[in-house]
Amino acid sequence: MSEVKTVALTIDGRSVRAVEGTNVLRAAAAAGIDIPHFCYHPAFEAEGSCRMCLVEIEGLPKLELACATVVREGLIVRTATDLVRDARRAVLAFLLAEHPLDCPICDQAGECKLQDYYDAHGRFPGRFVEPREKRDKLIAIGRGLILDRERCILCTRCVRYLRRITGTGELGVFERGVRAEIGTYEDARVDNDYSGNLVDICPVGAITDTDFRFKTRTWFLERRPSVCPHCARGCAVIVESVTGYPLGPGERRVFRIRAGENPAVNGHWICDLGRAGRRDIDEGRLTAVTARAATGGTVPWQKAVADLAARIRAVPGPERPARIAVVLNSLMTCQELALARRIFTEALGLGGVFIADPPPGSGDGFLLTAERVPNARGVLEAGFAPRLPDLEALARSTEVLIVFGPYLAGNFPAGTAAPALSPIAVKYLFTSRAVPDDGLADVAVPVAVPAERSGTYINVDGLRQTFRQSVAPPRGVPSEREVLVGLAHGLGLNVGEPDAG
């Protein structure tokens, strides 16, 4: 293993070691010194146009850009001198001069670099008394994104992102000088599957998302990391939600999914599918146990699971392999799959354990994989064969069908699964989604979505990623792990403590 070469430099009097080839800005960040910047982004080479990251370098007469200065042995950097402070104030004054007073209605408020830096490095009275450049403010540039040219500080991150990362180049810089502005060409629109990252990288509220527009304020958001469950890449995501105030008491909503940073998996980006997954968390949820034969009211999930356990125990042991079938899915965590193995394969000795997943799509050659499930490798590791059941064969012998996930019917021609399985006496469905009235389940029990669970997924490259619950499930909704543990207890099984997840 080749050693990474480092150099020793001094930043604000502290001795810092940095990897050769790093720029001063990143070296400082690694040492806990935040040098303010707008146009620099670790995914691109230095742009050097915002001028916010100017610092003093010993031996050089002018201030130098931290983002564009590569560390060397013995470099002495000062980031907190009067001169540096003055330079930062000047950049802020310039930016704020031609910046609209939109904070009260701007979605970026609370996570806006301009605000944050003004608070930390500004705090001077504005002196611009001239007429501001008037520009268009509500430009729909595509994919639900809105460009506000008055707020734009021309950091050009968006332009560079679309040129270098997506290669689609829908945005450009037109005109010159203070008239310079970002825009699309004629009627062209931003139209790629990674457009949502533009909102993440815009340091101010110049590019915002209609999906988030005016819905809440960023300071109400709880931000928790998770792993995206929409394909096998397992991108790091940040789930941003509000529980309670300013929503109603006990009300919970996920407002946004943003890209988390994971150099080993997705770098700084996620695809738009992952962002749209926000809806799976809030919308169309099954929130209470529904039984087709129920005469009214619902029961707690524990009761439904206990009933299922009783129903399983009612099948004589030797007959269980033939008469009980289970369908799992590849969104289940490794821990849940291990539990399922202990219960269904080892304890109950079932042979009919199947996997029903959302259909594959096509990979896009970047992050999105053709596989649209996050843990197919986890399924294999747990010893399950990824096979669908033969519905007719299943209907002939099965007495109790236990299905995890709403994906079974979608794997067969429309409208055929439910009738085919109708002979089965008892059908339990554990799903997060509201159930269509197709007769596929006798009892539907709500379960949590991946963002509401903890566990481990194994991604397309075999990387194990463990995540924690990023948002609480609706009240009374268990995770699949809780369901399986409850089932195990109901069956009198000692399955041991499930892996810490």
């Binding site: 050097g48 850009l65 000047a90 950049v91 930016l95 031609e98 001239e130 203070v178 008239r179």
Partner: protein, 415 residues
Amino acid sequence: MSGQAFRSLPPNDASWHLEAYLARGGYEAARRAVTSMAPADVVAEIRKAGLRGRGGAGFPAGLKWSFVPQDRPGPRYLCANADEGEPGTFKDRAILVRDPHRLLEGMIIAAFAVGIGTAVVYVRGEYERIAGRLCDAVAEAQAAGFLGRGICGTAFGLDVIVHFGAGAYICGEETALLESVEGRRGQPRLKPPFPAVVGLFGAPTVINNVETLASVPEIIGRGADWFTRLGQPKDCGTRLFSVSGAVRRPGLYELPTGTPLRTIIEEHAGGPPDGVGIKAVIPGGLSAPLLRADELETPMDFDSLAKVCSMIGSAGIIVIGDRTPILDVLAVTARFYAHESCGQCTPCRIGTSWIHKTVTRIAAGRGRSSDLDLILELAGGMKGRTLCPMGDAAALPLYAMVAKFRDELERAVGR
């Protein structure tokens, strides 16, 4: 009649043609260089002559040439900067029109010295009409074997492309010039890397001003020692001084560096018209901080002007008469830089515009007492902080105007 005094520049007649140029010894230096000198010796001679760039920055030409790495394969480029956008400057134009072969000969020698095979002459778009002569001269030189393959029967070859700009002062900045040649917006690049290492199309590139290159044949022809005997020790040779404004004989004057400003204005350009006094003089193009009437003894060379906090720049001398309100000068300056800012970096993009808006308000009679200090503060926010030297070009003149004519400006603001 436009004044002129030339040591070496021919009149604006048929003297520009190849035959006339050959008749006055043209292409002899190039022939000698490519047939009998080592490239490194050519570089050494130019370094010995101490030829400094005549575009504005004054960087030693030979030193710049020596920065081009000689140890790697691939193309190299030479760019002759004929963007001449610095207000008050019209010397490169005269070379293009009167002595285009001299420029070409200088380019041939420079290209030979550095191992360059392709040269681009970047001509500002406004000179497209007059550049016909340059294009004709290229054709003449090619036909006579001074350009193209096998120059003077050697293995050395040089192709010349004439590329026209399209109206952007910023393209006079060397990296913006490169961007423009590459078909892009003229936005300066971060340095390092420097063009000598990563320049046009990623290849090592030398960019020199037209007058700088036009000085090369004489240095090689007559020797560096001859050149160093002209002008000043640390700023040798003669320069083409553009003189305009409140003078009787505006025009070009080819004089040794170190000639006092007053001499140029009064002896050569005839001084201000009758009844007009001199209020101020801009010595080196609009980007050079102006000098008061009592500072005109300053010798016109790099160090002397630096000592009085100005610069020789493009040697564009603009004489401002005593009836001209300094506010007018301030207004033109502020408007020019705001118009020409490329917009890439924050301080220049917004600073130049803010200053322009402020000065416009003052000129409209709505000035405030704090405006002058504000202008200085804004200039301070740009000076030394921008991606390219245009930030300084926009800021430094303002300091001089406000500092040296504070009373007059305060009265104008208070009006």
